[in-house]
């Protein structure tokens, strides 16, 4: 059966595991952007991000023979990316960021509500997007990771928890904390 856009990621990965190089091309085309941006947002250095990105896919290629469909492919893929990122943190001077170890603080109940109005001008949207990326860079790594996993691979809280190796509540609190910080930062920018 020809690999096409309808074929799910898990089936493509199984076909690649069985020797179909074309299946890998499709998988890579689908997820290379998400993984790359995930690494790029987590690292300030683009070169390091590219190196980590390449390592993630090489690791996928090496471990293809052990792949089994026990979860979503994206969960497995971003688990590889998360592990590579932690390894990177461990090798640098600062070590693994505290946000990955410490329990998150109390979930903010006073998260500002999302604005219902759409941006009228695309220039304004671009400016807001740049601001959002700045706020994202200021987030603790763990919360940023949770937000990126949700945005880049459309993961649920359970998927995020599985990919990052934490329980559901931790993943949920990280995500909510990240959203609250980002909304607050965007509101301040509007003022």
């Amino acid at each position: 059966m020809p690999a096409d856009s309808i074929t799910c990621d898990e089936e493509l990965m199984e076909r690649y595991r069985d020797g179909d190089a074309g299946a890998f091309d499709i998988l890579y085309g689908r997820h290379k952007g998400g993984v790359y941006r995930f690494m790029l947002r987590q690292c300030s250095d683009r070169g390091i991000a590219e190196e980590l990105f390449q390592d993630v896919w090489m690791n996928l290629i090496r471990t293809r023979t052990t792949y089994k469909v026990t979860a979503k492919f994206t969960t497995w893929l971003y688990r590889l990316a998360h592990n590579r990122l932690i390894d990177h943190y461990r090798t640098r001077a600062g070590g693994v960021p505290v946000s990955f170890d410490a329990e998150d603080g109390p979930v903010l109940d006073n998260i500002p509500a999302a604005r219902g109005d759409d941006p009228a001008v695309s220039v304004e949207v671009k400016q807001q997007a740049v601001r959002l990326l700045q706020l994202l860079g200021e987030l603790p790594e763990a919360q940023r990771e949770a937000f990126l996993l949700q945005q880049e691979s459309d993961m649920s809280i359970e998927d995020i928890a599985q990919a990052t190796g934490v329980n559901r509540e931790t993943a949920k609190s990280r995500l909510r904390y990240a959203l609250a910080r980002l909304r607050a930062g965007m509101q301040e920018a509007d003022k």
Partner: protein
């Protein structure tokens, strides 16, 4: 902490849209290629060439189209050649002189019909290219007999001779044999051999037959021998026809330049061989019953066929072996066959230096 409906997804549409509005950064192409190549290497797949998908997509249709074009071309070429082969030469249109070789090949492949002038010509075993006689009869509806060609002197090209001598009047006398024209050279070689064999057989038959000038006496064995001789001639003609057919089947489209062709002239038998003397049917049947046993009839026919076969076999040999074979025949006492073979050899290889023994023996 209570989970609101919003917390299940925990998505913020506004933040998501803003995030997606940022520049969609992608990895550099170099990294892309490196990763894809590593993936292919890991599974032992060959690198994907540029345009490979295009070739994969169009490989089958292009192959089918190419095969169809090839088939149509072949059919067209075969059809054109077939129509050429089946084209009957018109009597009022002389053969084109555009290509001398082509004309010569065509002409030499077509047997000519010619009146037999005298019986002595029948003993001529010459296979030099004959001159096409312009006095050939226009109508050949009578019984025909094959007459060996007239030996031409000189080393001129046979096609040149024919081109000079052949006229439009000769065309109606031609017997069209389209397949022979398809592969003239190869066909001529075969026909020449077969014609030589047939001539030997025919010669034997005519020697055995009663001389035309001397009507056979009624009630003698000579009459019966005449009948036997005619049977031999018919057999020889059949052998030649079969050999010609085989040559047509075997001849390749482009053969090497041919040896001088063997063109048979056919003339109405009524003029060449006088009809046997009228014999009362009862007497004739009595003579046949009494004087000609079946073995006696079949023996000369068999020997003629054998000699024709032997000559045909010799003609296929290289010159040295051919001469050796002639020597053998001579020592075996098969003088007629040896002479016929030598005559044929000299026609085929006129410049070949014969060994001393044969040189002296070959002088008439």
């Amino acid at each position: 902490m209570s989970e609101t409906p919003r917390t299940d997804r925990e998505g913020d549409e506004q933040l998501s849209s803003l995030y997606r509005a940022a520049l969609p950064e992608t990895p550099p192409l170099v990294i892309d290629e490196a990763i894809r190549a590593a993936a292919r290497r890991a599974v032992g797949a060959r690198p994907q060439l540029a345009g490979a998908s295009f070739m994969r997509k169009w490989q089958m249709p292009l192959s089918i189209a190419a095969v169809l074009v090839l088939c149509v071309s072949l059919i067209t070429v075969m059809h054109d050649e077939g129509s050429e082969l089946t084209q009957v030469p018109r009597a009022d249109v002389p053969a084109p002189v555009a290509s001398e070789r082509q004309s010569a090949a065509n002409e030499s492949a077509v047997p000519k019909v010619e009146l037999a002038a005298d019986a002595s010509r029948s003993k001529n075993l010459g296979f030099k290219p004959p001159a096409v006689r312009s006095d050939a009869p226009a109508s050949g509806a009578d019984a025909y007999k094959l007459v060996p060609p007239v030996a031409s002197s000189g080393i001129r090209s046979p096609s040149a001779d024919r081109l000079q001598e052949a006229g439009p009047a000769a065309a109606p006398a031609m017997v069209d044999m389209p397949a022979r024209r398809a592969a003239p050279s190869a066909f001529l070689e075969k026909t020449e051999v077969a014609g030589a064999a047939a001539n030997v057989a025919r010669d034997n038959a005519r020697r055995d037959a009663a001389p035309p000038a001397e009507p056979a006496p009624v009630g003698t064995v000579a009459d019966a021998r005449g009948q036997v001789a005619r049977q031999q001639a018919a057999t020889a003609d059949r052998v030649e026809r079969d050999a010609g057919r085989a040559a047509m089947l075997e001849a390749p489209p482009a053969a090497k330049p041919a040896a001088p062709p063997a063109v048979m002239r056919v003339e109405p038998m009524a003029q060449a061989v006088p009809a046997p003397a009228p014999v009362a049917p009862a007497v004739a049947s009595a003579i046949q019953k009494k004087a000609v046993p079946a073995e006696a009839v079949r023996a000369p026919e068999k020997s003629a066929k054998e000699s024709a076969d032997a000559l045909a076999l010799m003609a296929q040999l290289p010159p040295e072996k051919w001469l050796t074979r002639i020597e053998e025949l001579r020592t075996q006492g098969r003088i007629d066959e040896a002479r016929a073979g030598l005559a044929e050899f000299r026609k085929r290889y006129p410049d070949y230096i014969l060994p001393p023994a044969l040189r002296g023996w070959a002088q008439p």
